[in-house]
């Protein structure tokens, strides 16, 4: 990388800015204050048809302050972490807090819940990568894909690599910092037959560059995923089981997490309001959070309130065991925070796992969904209706690609109808899961 990034110096600088902002807020009359700051730096290169398309050097900063005056709250933020900008933000936040209304639930998380230990979670692995080396990796990736017979065009390959520091402090005296890195390589290819064009992609995304999949593997897999879509037909309209591939199954977990998030619950905007303790999934299914897992995508020792993170169990034996709460949403609901300000960190499932083949066999006749489109998920009612593409399955075997159809149901019913989980676990994101087989959904096609 052409710009050096001194993570230790950046961390020290941000920590001093956060401390100064907290002190200034106190001097100016804030009863409580919290401040977050971050800086991220990286390189992104993209290539297409064997030529460099773009080289981008990024350096993003952010700073956000929230002050409390009695039970009133004001916030201000800026992309500039300079001294003057930070000071102006504190003043602006205080000015806003003079106008906002009283909120008995407002305020910092309880002091006794602040994280005391800040273990190194092995998520910072800088990559000393030159621009030329980054370009070479992207070129090798695209070349591997374009070398596969049938690939006629390309949307290109990209490599991005970056690292950063985030700091959070509040007027309880808590000051926490965390460094992290992320490196990814992706490739999107295009193939065409008499019926038209199809595109698909693959990617690898890691904390530690040594774990990045080889460019040849990513490119070849993108080619395979693209070619298998050619000749797609439209499936018949009717009721069928649906096998969600791991990426799409992670999306279903995401919808579940959205529905147990405190913000949706206290606004009565969730189909899982007042369902604590009730069976939602089959009893063999358990869903947990492991925020302290070393080296994982979303590992963090403290949440966005400064509260210590802990292993949570959201679904235990199929029952809704816990909501996902921040200090604020917990107060609104008369509960305790679960250390989830900022969301869930490293969600894992515990269930008997079946091979992809076994799941296809169990499904018999239905559709394997590999892509979903659109926003047709209603978190208030659980109603679900989305555009899809994938493969038609008969007698437990993939027959041909399908496209231009929808799958529809209700999330509550879909969770209850979960018939099996695959061993084909995708570990690239924060949610790790294999495929999900869900019985009895409505397919609308031809």
């Amino acid at each position: 990388m052409t710009q050096a990034f001194d993570a230790a110096a950046q961390q020290a600088l941000l920590e001093s800015r956060v401390a100064a902002a907290l002190a200034q807020a106190k001097t100016l009359g804030a009863d409580a204050c919290e401040v977050g700051a971050s800086v991220d730096q990286g390189i992104g290169v993209s290539v297409r048809l064997g030529e460099v398309e773009s080289v981008e050097l990024s350096r993003d900063q952010g700073f956000a302050v929230t002050v409390y005056v009695g039970s009133r709250k004001g916030s201000a933020s800026s992309s500039d972490t300079g001294e003057a900008s930070v000071s102006a933000a504190v003043e602006k936040a205080l000015a806003i807090a003079r106008h906002t209304g009283e909120d008995p639930a407002a305020g910092l998380a309880p002091a006794e819940l602040m994280a005391r230990e800040l273990p190194d979670l092995d998520v910072h692995h800088p990559w000393a990568l030159s621009t030329d080396a980054a370009i070479d990796l992207a070129l090798a990736c695209e070349a591997a894909g374009r070398g596969v017979e049938g690939i006629g065009n390309s949307d290109g390959a990209s490599l991005s690599s970056g690292e950063g520091v985030r700091v959070y402090g509040n007027s309880h005296g808590f000051l926490g910092s965390q460094r992290g890195s992320r490196h990814s390589l992706s490739c999107m290819l295009i193939a065409e037959d008499a019926q038209g064009m199809q595109r698909d992609y693959d990617y690898s995304s890691v904390r530690d560059p040594r774990l990045l999949r080889s460019p040849e593997d990513v490119g070849a897999s993108a080619a395979e995923r693209t070619l298998r879509r050619l000749g797609a037909r439209r499936p018949a309209t009717g009721r069928f089981p649906v096998l969600f591939d791991p990426t799409q199954a992670a999306g279903l977990v995401g919808h579940f997490l959205g529905a147990i998030a405190g913000g949706a619950l206290y606004r009565q905007a969730s189909f899982l309001c007042d369902r604590l303790g009730e069976p939602l999934f089959p009893e063999w299914f358990t869903l947990v959070e492991r925020p302290l897992e070393r080296g994982a995508m979303a590992s963090a020792p403290f949440d966005n309130d400064g509260v210590y993170t802990r292993d949570n169990t959201f679904i235990e034996g199929g029952r809704l065991a816990s909501y996902m709460l921040s200090a604020y949403s917990a107060r609104r609901l008369g509960m305790e925070t679960t250390g989830n300000a900022g969301g869930a960190r490293n969600v894992r499932l515990q269930a008997p796992l079946a091979s992809r083949e076994a799941l296809l066999q169990r499904m018999g006749r239905g559709v394997l969904v590999t892509e979903l489109m659109g926003q047709g998920v209603n978190g208030v009612t659980g109603d679900y209706s989305r555009g899809a593409a994938g493969f038609w399955v008969e007698n437990g075997e993939i027959q041909y690609p399908v496209e231009e159809f929808t799958i529809a149901g209700n999330l509550g019913q879909m969770f209850a109808n979960l018939a099996g989980v695959g061993a084909d676990i995708d570990t690239r994101g924060s949610i790790h899961t294999g495929s999900w087989l869900i019985d009895d959904m409505t397919i609308a096609g031809s």
Partner: protein, 489 residues
Amino acid sequence: MNQPTSVPVADRALDTAVATLLAPTGLGLDALESGLGQALGAGIDFADLYLQRSWHESWVLEDGEVKEAGYNIDGGVGVRAMAGEKTGFAYSNQITAEALAETGSTASGIARSGARLSPQAVAARPQSTRYGAEDPLSGLSAEEKIALLKEADRIARAADPAVSQVSASLTGLYEVVLVRASDGTLAADLRPLVRFNVSVIAIRNGRRERGSAGGGGRYSMARLRDEGVAERYAKEAVRQALVNLEAVDAPAGQLPVVLGPGWPGILLHEAVGHGLEGDFNRKGSSAFAGRLGQRVAAPGVTVVDDATLADRRGSLSIDDEGTPGQYTPLIEDGILTGYMQDKLNARLMGMAPTGNARRESYAHMPMPRMTNTYMLAGQDDPADILRSVKRGIYAVSFGGGQVDITSGKFVFSASEAYLIEDGRITAPVKGATLIGNGPEAMGRVSMIGHDLELDTGVGVCGKEGQGVPVGVGQPTLKLDELTVGGTQS
């Protein structure tokens, strides 16, 4: 539709931009010349500097109180240097002589050898302004902003006893933009953008539904108040929630679909708009690539992208490369006649830029993007259009959409829809996703209403991770067949 006001060059915009972006660090317009000189390194054939500063404010009401309010200031410079199809890009959140020099030389690293060009001298160009230049945030006092939100809360709660939750938000953005490019461009823009939104939850007999409504545009917060948005959107959000409380399961399968006027124009944004952006067509990755002059929609279908509408959310006096915003016909009477272009893709395709270069901020690279995209009115009476349907769906509001520009498949998700039976609107149906293939769906447009409407000003378009405000619009439309993703097969 409003006619845009056309006034001579926005000297005021340029003066304000210099005062806002350069003067605070002791710089003047000459600093841009040296910055551009850095970016025009060996082998670079085009370079531009994009300076921006933005002020964003949001006020959020929940439980009858404005408990949350926030203020954000952002700004910096983004520098591009191009060599043929290659682009080098760097940015800084500081606008200083050092930052201009550093980002310029970093960006120009994309090429390492070749001729060194000089930037062309600034060419004066007439510029029309499509919206007022006022700071929209200062149009109302803090007390007035809070009062507006509380009015929405009061009206929504009074509208029906089933209303259990009301949230309302008021947001405003003021941006100052200055562009200097090596092709002689020097242009500035002052961009206001405001929005008011109401969302309600209604509960009846254990059933829970949401309704939401909102709108805005490129004008002052004061105009929101003067136009009575609190009452209008509060009542509309409640009405939609109550309709949805009565909704029955939607049908599944291929049906005739009638789309209401205005916001359902998201159909055009997804089914044709993205596929007509210059980058996808240059790369041959769009289902519309190479089809200029061919029929891509039914006769009578005329679709335009129009940045020139006065005060609209998607309107632009200049785009983010300094090209004036334009009225660009895309499909005329069913024939594909134009793409939306930025400078890079226009040059590589031998076409002219159309003022569609947009970027989320100085920290993002510009791409061809839509502004306000709509279909022109036809001849049909909307009532006749509904009467012509034996059994189908009438969809009047949507949550959002998405397209795969390569296969042409697009979706958009209805948030308020009804069954049509024997030419009459009957029961409301639950939200369902509609899916089709862009060119095919546009070929199935069989009736076009005379009731063109634009949306109320709520659209955000995402592309490659960058969000920009857009507008859509259309008259009432009938598509003879589209796949409706309900649960009743």
